[in-house]
Amino acid sequence: MKKRLFFLIFLIITLLLSACKPFAENEALRPVTLNLTYIPNVQFAPYYVGIEKGFFAEAGLDVTLAYGNEADMVALVGAGKEQFMIASGEQVLMSRAQGLPVVSVANWYSDYPVGVVALKEANIQSPADLKGKQIGLPGLFGASYIGFEALARSANLSDSDYSLNSIGFTQVESLVTGQVEAVVGYVANEPVQLKARGYEVDVLRVADAVDLVGNCLVTNEKTIADEPDFVKAMAQAVVKSIRYAAENPEEAFDICKKHVENLNQLSPEELEIQRQVMLSSIAIWQTEPLEHVEQFRKWQNMQHLLLELGLINETLDIEGAFSDTFDR
C-alpha cells in the first residue's frame, strides 16, 4: 500500500514538474518585457509579428509579452519596476497627475478605439440620441468610461441624462439579451462580433466626435534619461511591427495563431470573426509617425476631458507626457 502511495506521489510530482518549461536564454539579445493589457488577442497582432518576424531581435531585444490590468501595469512602469507597456492616453495623464513619471514614446492607435454600440431597433444614430438611455459599460473606469463621457459631452449631455450600468466585460451578451439599450466597447471588437452573429448595429465612434490619444507605447522618465538608445530601439521596432502587420494582414493573422491561445481550436466561422476583428483593428492603427502639433492637440484634448471629469485636478505639462524623438 505504501509503495503504491509513494508511486502515486512520484507520478503526480513528475507530471507537475513536466508542466514547468525550461527557461531558454538568448545571451546576445537584451531581455525585456512588453506589458500588454487584457489577454492574448488578435488585436495585439503587431507585437506577435514583431517577435516572429524578428523586428525586436533586429533591434537587439528579446521581447517577452505579458498581460494584465492596465492600471496595475502603469503603476509598475511608473515606479520603474517595468520598462515598457501599452497604455491608453488617459492612463498616462492620470498617472502623471499621481506623480508616476510615465511617458508615451510611440503611438499605436491613430483613433481613440472606443465607441457606443446599439442594435438598429434602438435607433441611436447620434450622441444626442443617448439621452434617457440605459448604457452598459465595463465600469466607471478606463478607456470605455473616458470615451463614453467624451462622446456624451460632445452632445452636451451629462450623467443625469442617461443611466450608466457597470456590466463588466459582457457588452455583447447584455446588448443581445436586452439588459441595456447600448453598450460601450472597442470599435474593432464588439460591433464586429455582433454583426458576424447576425445582429444589425449602429456604432457611434468617439473618434468622430473628439480627437483623443488612444493606445501607445509607454515607458518611464528614468529609462528615457538613462538609456535613450534602448527606448529608441523598442519604439522603432514597435512602429516597424505595426506597419508590417498592417501591410500584411493575412500573414499577421497566421502569426497570431501561434500566440493567441485557443485560436486554432475555433470553428471556421469563429476564426473568421477573429480575422475580421484584427482587420477592423488595423483600420485604427497609426502606421506613420504623427506630427508633433497633431500629437500635442490630441493630448491637450485628453487633458481637457480629464479636467472636466475631475479625474485630474490641475493642468499638467503636456510636453512631458509624450515624446516624438524615439519613433522616427
Partner: protein
C-alpha cells in the same frame, strides 16, 4: 440497554446504502443536471456564446484534451493549489502551535484572526500581483493566504480542546515537550486540523483562480479569460467544470487522508 439504542441512533443518522447506490446517486444527479441543461438550451434557443449545449462543451473538452491544452493549463493551476496548500497549511500549523503556547500573543493577534476570515481576496490579489509579479509566486501566495487563516484557526481550536487531564497525565509522567507534541497535542488536534485543511483545499482553488483571473498567461483562470475574450463560452464551461472536478477530487483526497490518519479514532470508538 444503552448499546442497542446507540446503534439505532447511529443507523438513523447514516443509513447504510449499498456501494452501487453510493455511485448511482451522484451519477443520477449529474445526468439530471445535464438533461435539464439540454432542455433549457433547446427551449430558450439562446446563442451559443450565451448558453452552449452540453454536446458543444463536451466536444470542446475532447478537442483541448487531445491536443494537450487542457493538461497544460490544469497542471499549472493544480501546481499553484498544491504549493499554496503546502506552504499555507504548514505556516498556519507552525504559527498556530506557537500562538497556542503563548497566550498573550494569541490575544494580541485575535483581532487579525477574526478580521482575516473576511479578507476580500479579489481586492487584495491585484496588489499582491503588483508587489510580487505576475508569475507562479504571487498565485501561490494568494492560495497560501486563503488556506492560512482557516487552518490557523482550526489548529488553535484543536490544540485548545486537548483535555486538561491528559496534559496533567503527561506532566506526571515527566513527558518531554517533543513527547507531549507527538503523543498528545498533535493526535488531539489532528481531527480539527484536517477539517481545516479540507476547507482550505476548496478555498485554495478559489485563490488560484482569483489570481489567474487578475493576471496570468497559464492556468484554468487564464483559459476562462481567453474563452470570454473570444466569446467561446463552451471553453469557459470546460474550464469551470474542470475546476469543480479538481476541487471535488482534492476534497476527497484530503477526506481520505483524514480517514486514514484518524483510523485510531474509529478504533477507539468501536472498542471503548
Amino acid at each position: 440497554m444503552t448499546e442497542p439504542l446507540k446503534n439505532e441512533h447511529a443507523q438513523r443518522l447514516s443509513p447504510r446504502i449499498s456501494p452501487l447506490l453510493r455511485i448511482l446517486y451522484p451519477l443520477g444527479s449529474v445526468i439530471l443536471l445535464l438533461a435539464l441543461w439540454q432542455v433549457l438550451y433547446s427551449l430558450l434557443k439562446l446563442p451559443a456564446f450565451i448558453l452552449p449545449s452540453p454536446k458543444m462543451v463536451w466536444d470542446k473538452f475532447l478537442l483541448i484534451l487531445l491536443n494537450g491544452t487542457w493538461w497544460h493549463h490544469l497542471s499549472w493551476t493544480l501546481l499553484e493549489i498544491l504549493l499554496g496548500l503546502l506552504i499555507g497549511g504548514l505556516a498556519a500549523t507552525l504559527i498556530g502551535y506557537g500562538l497556542s503556547k503563548l497566550s498573550f500573543l494569541e490575544r494580541l493577534m485575535a483581532p487579525f484572526l477574526v478580521g482575516s476570515s473576511s479578507l476580500p481576496m479579489v481586492a487584495v490579489a491585484p496588489l499582491l500581483i503588483i508587489w510580487f509579479g505576475a508569475g507562479l509566486g504571487s498565485k501561490v501566495l494568494i492560495c497560501s493566504l486563503t488556506v492560512f487563516f482557516p487552518v490557523l484557526v482550526n489548529v488553535l481550536v484543536g490544540l485548545r480542546n486537548t483535555p486538561q487531564e491528559l496534559h496533567e497525565l503527561m506532566r506526571s509522567l515527566n513527558a518531554s515537550p517533543w513527547q507531549k507534541l507527538t503523543m498528545l497535542e498533535l493526535p488531539a488536534a489532528l481531527p480539527v486540523l484536517l477539517g481545516g485543511l479540507r476547507v482550505g483545499t476548496t478555498l485554495s482553488v478559489i485563490g488560484a483562480i482569483v489570481g489567474e483571473l487578475v493576471s496570468s498567461d497559464r492556468g484554468l483562470g487564464f483559459l476562462i479569460n481567453v474563452g470570454r475574450g473570444q466569446y467561446d463560452t463552451a471553453l469557459v464551461f470546460v474550464a469551470v467544470l474542470s475546476l469543480i472536478l479538481m476541487a471535488s477530487l482534492l476534497y476527497y483526497v484530503v477526506l481520505l487522508l483524514e480517514r486514514r490518519a484518524l483510523v485510531w479514532q474509529t478504533w477507539r470508538k468501536d472498542h471503548l
